[in-house]
């Protein structure tokens, strides 16, 4: 089932992605598939996930959640719950409204008007919305007590389909906003009139739909919050993957300075973007820790996660018009995008601009217009999910390519090759001023097709037909734009004061010469401890095992900045950029110190064998242990002007400008990793049931520090995309009840569901990053694009929905037969 080969830029197949190398110091760690150091504790069950953290006297928290999609709250009575022995206390929306400010809204009007609190105040707006929090001595008691909380509701009609949200009689979720419209923007680049005039054909696509799902990390959200009354400071043990964002949302809401919020994470059981917006629940925990004067423990139930957390942006692309030439050259497109934010704007409406990082997809058309409208509905709030907002847009561009090919009777491979941005055009400036750093899409497509033995498809199609099956093959090409320029947020709201990006690392030599690395990131399985050590060891020329990287994140390490966290495919650029910067600072200080000790110029020195020595006289050698000891404990006699601490903190800052708000133009992302997938499927035409019988994934992410870790990300993204395409959807009934609230009905792929997988990789180093790396990991939904394309190929019917369960495929076949 696994057949993989990595192919380097020169075209030689190698196996570095699979075979663990026997590693030696001299070779250099970059490019080595070093087995992960994180694994030992995780394999032994000694990881520390948030529910593993315990504190004496802690109270367990259970949320009472709304059973209605839309209702006024007319009465809340916690007295019976509080009377139960073992219950420590409760928190209601009324208290939250008194104790906190509403959360800061990213949006300009009308979305800016939302009054978002940590618990529902006055009204509930989606099934599962937290209304009251109950804390008790045991988990079971908290759960029991929650049933004694009395909440009375006055139900209201619900709006569930975003396409209805702007109708004049649609129920309004937030009266303060005057309607369900949250944000709207018109993006227009190039000359559409000219493009459509030049076109041989205008292909019209009435409606394309990208569905609602997410990555269901196996560990749900959680926290253990302690309050230090004496200094008014909270320690928030949690698994939030973007503490920088949580802090700036929570601090002002709680009317406290950010230094009063200490975030501590260690092992996180998957994030995929879905652990960014837990700040409302964290505020509840903080308020209760203070109110009840005891640590508060909260672990989200799986059903509650499905009901309430981080659904991806459901998006319609309507009235799409594509200007094309007869030979398949794409000139431009216009489309009207309708985006469903769910009941609250938690990270939205950033999705309204983040797609623009990949405006043209992978294609060279220059004339593009997107009218973007975001509305609220009575469903779980949307927030980032793996591929956030770019995935939806790239799915759209891939659908367009295949639909154009279908309409013109052209080969989808040829249409892609005709329109792909070419390797010799890199770096490539897109119509809206983003710069694709590097890539060779055509070559990757060839590799992917080779991996599935594309030439044999006609024969396999015939053979499948003889068995009564319909075979289809489809391509999904995609980008992982990484390292955001947060200045793009000003295209959503010009009053926002965010721009650029950053990440921090601190590298120090301790008194015994121990090299200690502290990251600002919050990894959830991406192997930061291992890859950071590789980079450090290469710069310091020391044994890999001498580099100690602290596990997880702690605000009190003071090794983080405003944008710190692990999200949006950026660690290899921002995190490792910070590591590189801090290590180089440290290396320079070591040399400075040695120069003072040896009384020689710094240029005469080199780092080697875990120390520093004079190049021409290697016996003059100062091991790191000596360096650390001198500075930390034995510094008498050092020159007065020697400015060396051996504790180096570096803030990596990518080179960004503020975008031009008028033209909506500018570089929004630093790097663009690429994935091209090919899926081969077989459909059972009598039932619509289908399987993936062959699959290829080719990726490119600049210089690869640890190829095995990278390939792991590619595989994981592939599996999630397959799940989303075939089985995973958050479907609601017309009353706003979630029909897929658990793993029975929301089927995620299991081991038997996975297809045979072939992988390959090429390297096109980024010219813009400290190490030539590109951020990667999200995967851009390539599997969804490829499966849609394969279904279209097999059925001969245009596929317009990203989610294609068996029933929909059967309907496609019925349609095709008519």
């Amino acid at each position: 089932m696994r057949a993989a080969g990595a192919v380097d830029v020169a075209g030689h197949a190698s196996e570095t992605t699979l075979a663990p190398e026997k590693v030696e110091v001299q070779k250099g760690w970059g490019g080595q598939s070093v087995p992960r150091r994180e694994d030992k504790r995780l394999l032994r069950g000694e990881g520390v996930f948030v529910d593993d953290v315990k504190r004496h006297g802690m109270g367990y928290l259970h949320f009472v959640r709304s059973p209605y999609a839309h209702a006024h709250i007319t009465r809340v009575d916690v007295s019976a719950a509080e009377a139960l022995e073992g219950v420590y206390g409760t928190l209601t929306g009324e208290e939250v409204a008194a104790l906190t400010e509403p959360f800061f809204q990213i949006s300009s009007a009308p979305g800016s008007q939302l009054k978002d609190y940590a618990l529902a105040v006055g009204k509930v707006r989606y099934v599962g919305e937290p209304v009251v929090a109950v804390v008790a001595e045991t988990r079971e008691l908290a759960r029991d007590a929650s049933e004694l909380v009395e909440v009375e509701y006055d139900p209201l009609p619900a709006v569930v389909d975003a396409r209805r949200a702007l109708e004049p009689d649609a129920p309004v979720l937030h009266e303060e906003a005057g309607g369900n419209l949250m944000w709207q923007g018109l993006y227009s680049w190039g000359d559409l009139d000219a493009a459509f005039a030049e076109a041989d054909r205008v292909i019209e696509i009435p409606e394309l739909h990208f569905h609602r799902f997410n990555s269901t990390p196996l560990e749900c959200d959680g926290a253990l919050v302690e309050y230090n009354r004496g200094v008014g400071q909270w320690t928030i043990h949690c698994n939030n993957q973007f503490p920088g964002f949580a802090a700036i949302m929570m601090g002002p809401a709680m009317r406290v300075g950010l230094d009063k919020l200490r975030f501590v994470t260690q092992d996180i059981g998957g994030g995929f973007g879905n652990k960014i917006t837990s700040h409302p629940q964290l505020v509840v925990c903080c308020l209760l820790a203070r109110k009840l004067n005891r640590p508060i423990q909260w672990t989200e139930w799986r059903t509650d996660f499905h009901l309430s957390m981080s659904h991806c942006n459901e998006r319609w692309f309507r009235d799409t018009q594509v200007a094309v030439k007869e030979d398949g050259t794409l000139l431009g497109f216009r489309t009207k995008t309708l985006d469903d934010a769910g009941a609250w704007l938690r990270y939205e409406p950033l999705g309204g601009v983040i797609w623009a990082q990949v405006t043209p997809g992978m294609y060279r058309w220059r004339h593009i217009e997107v009218e973007f409208t975001q509305v609220v509905t009575n469903k779980a709030p949307a927030s980032p999910n793996r591929g956030y907002s770019r995935m939806q847009h790239l799915w759209f561009t891939e659908r367009v390519i295949d639909i154009v090919a279908h309409e013109l009777g052209l080969d989808p491979v040829e249409v892609r090759k005709r329109n792909y941005i070419r390797a010799d055009e890199m770096p490539y400036e897109t119509p809206n001023g983003c710069v694709y750093d590097s890539g060779d899409y055509a070559r990757m497509l060839d590799l992917a097709l080779e991996l599935v033995d594309y030439g044999s498809i006609p024969q396999r199609r015939a053979e499948a037909r003889a068995r009564g099956k319909l075979l289809g093959v489809g391509i999904g090409s995609t980008l992982d734009s990484g390292t955001n320029n947060f200045g793009q947020s000003r295209l959503i709201n010009p009053d926002l004061q965010f721009s650029g990006n950053n990440e921090v690392a601190t590298v120090k030599l301790d008194i015994f010469g121990e090299i200690v690395v502290t990251l600002g990131t919050t990894p959830q399985g991406q192997g930061h401890e291992t890859t950071a050590a590789q980079v450090v060891a290469d710069i310091l020329h020391c044994p890999l095992e001498d580099v100690h990287v602290r596990a997880g994140h702690d605000s009190y390490w003071n090794s983080h900045a405003g944008f710190s966290g692990t999200y949006a495919s950026q660690f290899a650029v921002t995190g490792l950029g910070a590591v590189k910067g801090a290590t180089e600072m440290l290396a320079a200080e070591i040399k400075k110190l040695a120069a003072a000790v040896f009384q020689c110029p710094e240029e005469a020195l080199e780092l080697a064998d875990g120390g520093v020595r004079i190049k021409d006289n290697p016996d003059a050698f100062l091991p790191f242990m000596a360096c650390g000891a001198i500075v930390n404990a034995n510094n008498a006699g050092l020159p007065e002007d020697l400015d060396v601490s051996l504790n180096c903190r570096y803030v990596y800052r990518p080179p960004f400008q503020l975008p031009d708000l008028e033209r909506k133009y500018g570089n929004l992302t630093l790097t663009y990793a690429v994935q091209i997938h090919v899926a081969v499927i077989e459909i059972d035409p009598d039932t619509g049931y289908y399987e993936i019988v062959d699959y290829a994934a080719v990726d490119e992410c600049g210089k690869r520090i640890n190829p095995q870790i990278i390939e792991g990300q590619v595989m994981g993204a592939t599996a999630q995309a397959i799940g989303a395409a075939m089985w995973e959807a958050y479907e609601y009934d017309e009353d706003g009840n979630l029909l897929t609230p658990n793993f029975y009905d929301y089927h995620v792929p299991h081991a038997l569901d996975m297809p045979p997988l072939h992988t390959a990789a090429i390297e096109c180093p980024s010219p813009f990053t400290p190490l030539g790396t590109k951020g990667m990991g999200e995967g851009g939904g390539a599997g969804i694009h490829a499966i849609c394309a394969a279904l279209q190929d097999a059925t001969g019917v245009v596929v317009t929905d990203s989610h294609n369960p068996y029933q929909r495929v059967w309907r496609l076949l019925q349609e095709g037969a008519r």
């Binding site: 988990r139 759960r143 059903t303 075939m726 089985w727 029909l739 089927h747 299991h750 038997l752």
Partner: protein, 264 residues
């Protein structure tokens, strides 16, 4: 995820178990727990007393009689049945059990639990109906046997009444059986299923299309589809299948199960 308060008893004999069930209105038998514990986690049902059947030897074991009749204890786990040499006399039993969920569930879940919970998406109710199994129910008045066709009464409801227990399932001899299903992914939640037996004519039991398995017969596998259509099914609609799609699947799967049975 957290159960309401409940009492627990582990009787050592069938008689003791029946006494406990009869004496307590809110008592429920606990077999494998692969369904009941989840129901209790969701607090969709909260018995006052769980009567754990794991101590009852009378409910265990698989016997193969000389005439090919199989007697399967209600507490037989799916894994035990799959491994059982005796059960190979009717291979469809192990084949279908091997498609249920996963090995952890199969190691603990029981055939008795599967039929007694009568979730419309379970595999064993239609299978038992198709192969003409007989269910032995023990109660205060003694034992009685109910044919599978009459055992399933409604969603989650069977002929096992309060104070009673299913003790064994008796399966007649035979090998010409078939089973077909469409599930969410491999061995996942079932969208539609059908079990068939050929014994002269074809007997097909459809699952997932009604509160209880629906039995249709036809003279030959080729006539099964028409028989299913003639049954005038109006299956429930849910997030995975409209009524129309489910009815169509029933037709297709019934024919496939029938053909498989005929070709054995």
């Amino acid at each position: 995820m957290l159960l309401r308060e409940v009492e627990y008893a582990k009787p050592a004999s069938l008689a003791e178990a029946l006494e406990l069930l009869a004496a307590n209105d809110g008592a429920r038998a606990l077999a494998g727990g692969q369904t009941l514990i989840n129901v209790m986690k969701a607090r969709a049902a909260s018995p006052d007393l769980l009567v754990d059947l794991h101590g009852l030897e009378e409910l265990r074991g698989i016997e193969l009689a000389a005439d090919g009749t199989l007697t399967i204890g209600a507490m037989t786990t799916y894994s035990e049945l799959i491994r059982s040499a005796e059960a190979k006399a009717r291979p469809i039993l192990g084949e279908v059990c091997a498609q249920i969920a996963d090995v952890q569930v199969r190691n603990r879940g029981t055939v008795g639990g599967n039929v007694c919970s009568n979730d419309p998406t379970n595999h064993l109710p239609p299978l038992m109906v198709a192969i003409g199994a007989r269910m032995t129910i023990a109660g205060p008045g003694g034992e009685r046997e109910v044919p599978a066709e009459e055992f399933f009464l409604g969603v989650y409801m069977t002929a096992v009444g309060p104070g009673e227990l299913l003790t064994r399932i008796t399966v007649p001899a035979g090998r010409k059986d078939g089973f077909a299903s469409v599930t969410l992914g491999a061995d996942g939640t079932c969208i539609c299923n059908a079990a068939a037996t050929v014994n002269g004519a074809v007997r097909v039991a459809l699952g997932c299309v009604d509160a209880v398995p629906v039995l249709v017969s036809a003279a030959s596998p080729d006539e099964v589809a028409a028989a299913v259509r003639a049954a005038g099914l109006t299956p429930p609609a849910d997030v995975h299948a409209s009524s129309e799609y489910r009815a169509h699947l029933a037709e297709v799967l019934a024919s496939r199960a029938a053909r498989e049975a005929a070709e054995r």
